[in-house]
């Protein structure tokens, strides 16, 4: 590309990114006032409505992603999408960008999410989150009960165990809530690795500072791991949650370079780093 071409392309992506942000806001409001109320009224059964609204969320987010792709802001690829669609799993993902949740929900027809509890006070957005039976990000035990409850009903739940976006260049830090949820529900954990190249929309990076070229997002779905394998007989969840969290940290440290999940290949466990070895012993 010539220098002029590069400048024009950069300016275009700044404009298009800003446009998409406005579209996200206006679109969310518009859909909350039109499509979602219609979906809610399309049945008397709240559980059927929940599924239809979650489908609606998927299509909305899919539309956002396709708009970003068509505008030339981003490209993406997904590996193992079929595993995301199996119900009753705790889907955990790392969190490099602002739009991870948009991309992941666009791939899953039915999934519960944890949403800022402030939305329950928003006059427009509170209804879709209630109808979709999304879970408010309350504190401690209450959040764990809400989340394990929905898993026990056989729904899938998407969680970012870091609790916030990854800070680039710093070691990953996780809350233990995700591990507690998986243990409380005896759920299978489905680890998902999201990467974004070049990095953009990460924590502390304003939207208008677009990357040097359009960014490429890659979603790699790992193999499910049963939370109970981390728990010893008669043990308090606090210890098992520590081991499971250590395992997740090791998983993300090991898959960052694109290597497959070690959990699925026990023969490779021998070369695993120390935290992994101690987590598995």
């Amino acid at each position: 590309m010539t220098t002029v071409g590069r400048i024009i392309n950069h300016a275009w992506r700044v404009f298009a990114t800003g446009f998409v942000f406005v579209l996200f806001g206006v679109g969310a409001l518009f859909i909350s006032l039109t499509v979602f109320p219609v979906l809610r009224l399309s049945t008397r059964d709240p559980d059927v409505a929940r599924r239809r609204i979650q489908n609606g969320m998927q299509y909305t987010f899919r539309t956002y992603i396709e708009i970003m792709r068509l505008l030339g802001i981003m490209t993406y690829e997904v590996h193992g999408v079929e595993r995301l669609r199996e119900q009753g799993r705790l889907i955990v993902a790392n969190h490099p960008t602002l739009i991870d949740v948009v991309l992941l929900v666009s791939l899953i027809p039915e999934v519960d999410c944890i949403v800022k509890r402030g939305l329950w006070r928003n006059p427009f957005l509170r209804w879709p989150v209630i109808w979709a039976s999304y879970i408010p990000n309350s504190e401690g035990e209450e959040l764990i009960e809400g989340c394990s409850g929905t898993l026990k009903k056989g729904h899938s739940l998407l969680v970012f165990p870091e609790g916030t976006r990854t800070v680039p260049g710093r070691p990953m830090h996780m809350q233990r809530g995700a591990a507690h949820i998986a243990l409380a529900a005896d759920a299978e954990l489905l680890p998902v690795t999201v990467t974004c190249d070049p990095p953009t929309l990460f924590k502390g990076n304003p939207w208008y500072r677009v990357p040097a070229r359009r960014f490429h997002m890659k979603v790699v779905v790992g193999d499910p791991v049963s939370a109970t394998t981390f728990r010893e007989e008669g043990e308090l969840p606090a210890r098992a949650a520590r081991r499971l969290t250590q395992w997740m940290l090791a998983y993300y440290a090991g898959t960052e370079s694109g290597r497959p999940s070690r959990a699925a290949h026990p023969e490779k466990a021998a070369e695993a780093p120390v935290p992994m070895a101690s987590a598995m012993s």
């Binding site: 504190e139 401690g140 035990e141 764990i144 809350q175 233990r176 809530g177 507690h180 308090l236 606090a238 210890r239 949650a241 520590r242």
Partner: protein, 90 residues
């Protein structure tokens, strides 16, 4: 464990054993200056388990607000000491 007034050292020792058992900490990590969250990685969910366990020491239910301003291991010892002085025969 019999319930009567205990010295600060005894309380600290009990707390140390409890933290090691509950959270797989190393005994030498549990010193009065250690910050519960930053140094020992004890989060709000762990705190609930810990408070339940400390009931065995004080012999009665502990209100979570007792530990509201607790930041370090030393603070926990202070709070437990105050609790047991309040109600030594419970």
């Amino acid at each position: 464990m019999s319930v009567n007034v205990k010295s600060r050292e005894e309380i600290l020792e009990y707390l140390r054993e409890t933290l090691v058992e509950l959270f797989e900490l190393k005994p030498e990590q549990v010193v009065p200056e250690a910050k519960l969250y930053e140094d020992l990685d004890i989060d709000s969910i762990d705190a609930v388990d810990l408070i339940l366990k400390l009931k065995d020491l004080t012999g009665r239910k502990i209100q979570p607000q007792t530990f509201k301003h607790v930041r370090t291991v030393g603070d926990v010892v202070d709070a437990l000491e105050a609790l047991m002085a309040e109600n030594p025969a419970a």
